[in-house]
């Protein structure tokens, strides 16, 4: 009991001691980098539609996503993406570039533990929960759609 009291006091003291991070500069970086990525995506989309008139709007979206996923993966492999991510935070995580990076980075990291149990198995250690929650969410929405 006494110990719990002591731990509670200590945790409160540490919490107060930690210098509060200033959110504004990192928010600013997140927004302008994230915005830039989205603008680039829009640009890809518009150029595809402009240069290849036979492509449908739906397919143009898919091509845009493929370009963004590829670029993020490629930059991860080059060892550049983690530096951009450390600077921009959510700005690179929220767009599809973050998802791509979260799959490529463990693949690179665990390559030396073998192709199957290293790279393939550990590729999803970060993205796995996102995929699971996405699937569960779509199941729930599907059920609602079925009955309502």
């Amino acid at each position: 009991m006494q110990e719990q009291e002591r731990n509670k006091r200590y945790n409160a003291y540490v919490e107060a001691k930690i210098a509060k991070t200033h959110a504004w500069p990192s928010l600013f970086n997140s927004f302008w980098v994230g915005g830039l990525i989205c603008t680039f995506g829009q640009l890809c989309n518009d150029l595809i539609l402009l240069w290849f008139p036979s492509v449908s709007t739906q397919s143009a979206w898919a091509y845009t996503l493929i370009i963004l996923i590829f670029l993020a993966s490629f930059l991860t492999g080059l060892g550049v993406f983690d530096k951009i991510g450390a600077f921009a935070g959510a700005g690179t995580i929220v767009p599809i570039t973050g998802f791509s990076n979260s799959i490529t980075s463990p693949a690179v990291e665990f390559k030396n533990e073998g192709i199957i149990f290293g790279m393939c198995a550990k590729m999803f250690i970060i993205a796995g929960p996102v995929i699971v929650s996405g699937t569960v969410a779509s199941m729930i929405v599907g059920l609602i759609y079925l009955f309502v």
Binding site: N7, A86, V108
Partner: protein, 338 residues
């Protein structure tokens, strides 16, 4: 003189000495504050010529031991026991490094307190007359620690402001009853202390209470105060952790003054983006085996209280929501009298 006082402190009457030492670090540490003090700096390749970072860490231990034996002007056959530990699961760096030596091996684990733990144990065994000469070593590598405890290296995430940077390096010491060098006069073994910190990115706060317990036990058992030491050196509490330690000690009536320093705050420069400072087994090991040993040998420092702290968690315990227990061990090292 008595061999043990209080519950935690042992005294060495036969003067076990540190007759050889060596420190090897990676590129980032080489650009830090202690550039001119390390025995060896790998300037570019943090793989140390190996295929994986895990193998690189072993190579660092091998080179550190080799260098320490050379600096003691000894041969491998003069070393009767090799005692080492590191951060990786099942202390593979140390055990695999020991594979390449024809020396009996004892693996120890105290997380980042391993350097002091092995120095204290070596001093006990040497002082007791069981071994003449013991080599002790420890290592850590930024990239192996990140992989085991945190996220893949290339993941574009932001580090929390209270986190620390694992030092890439290895340090080794040769403790012997023969020869000349700084003398280990006593050791205080710490108790596992947990004040309920659950944040694995705030090791300094988790380990500071353990450091306080060990320091108080040490001062009581040895009848000394912080003023009796030229230097009180903690391992890797970092900026936040050492500020907390100073507060906690003051609450207990001990004032840590300008003679208190933390290895984690010494090793890197401020602009190296390491947030709260260095951490890892190699943090205390490389700082001690560079600038501190040099000053002990020149007589600039005469009495040093060297205490290293460790966070005794694993990824399993932290994922199951357990708090982070800390430990701290301390040794007193007295320099060569000039």
């Amino acid at each position: 003189m008595e061999r043990k006082r209080g519950n935690q402190t042992v005294f060495f009457n036969n003067k076990p000495k540190i007759i050889g030492h060596y420190s090897i670090v990676g590129p980032k540490e080489g650009k830090g504050n202690l550039r001119n003090y390390f025995s060896e700096i790998e300037e570019k390749d943090d793989f140390f010529g190996q295929e994986t970072y895990e193998k690189a860490e072993r190579v660092m231990i091998e080179r550190a031991l080799d260098g320490a034996i050379k600096s003691a002007n000894a041969k491998y056959s003069d070393v009767h026991l090799f005692m080492a530990g590191d951060l990786l699961n099942q202390i593979i760096s140390s055990s695999y490094a020991a594979r390449s030596f024809d020396i009996p091996y004892v693996g120890v684990f105290g997380a980042c307190s391993t350097m002091v733990e092995s120095l204290a144990l070596s001093a006990c065994l040497v002082d007791g007359g069981h071994f003449d000469t013991i080599a002790c070593a420890t290592s850590s590598h930024f990239s192996t620690a990140e992989r085991q405890f945190r996220f893949p290296l290339e993941l574009g995430n932001q580090r929390p402001p209270t986190s620390q940077w694992t030092v890439t390096g290895s340090g080794a010491d040769i403790v012997s009853i023969k020869g000349n060098g700084p003398i280990i006069t006593c050791a205080t073994f710490g108790k596992v202390t947990d004040y309920g910190i659950g944040d694995v990115n705030n090791m300094g706060a988790a380990m500071a209470p353990a450091a306080m317990n060990t320091l108080i036990a040490h001062f009581k058992d040895t009848n000394t105060t912080p003023k009796d030491y030229d230097l009180i050196l903690s391992g890797d509490l970092g900026k936040l952790g050492s500020e907390i330690l100073i507060d906690l000690m003051e609450e207990q009536g001990y004032k840590l003054g300008l003679n208190y320093k933390d290895c984690g705050q010494i090793i890197y420069k401020r602009n190296q983006n390491v947030l709260m400072g260095g951490s890892g087994c190699a943090c205390s090991a490389t700082v001690f085996n560079s600038i501190i040993m040099k000053k002990l040998l020149t007589g600039e420092l005469k009495k040093v209280l060297f205490m290293a702290t460790g966070a005794l968690l694993s990824t399993t315990s932290s994922q199951q929501g357990d708090t982070v227990p800390g430990i701290a061990h301390a040794v007193v090292i007295e320099g060569v009298k000039k």
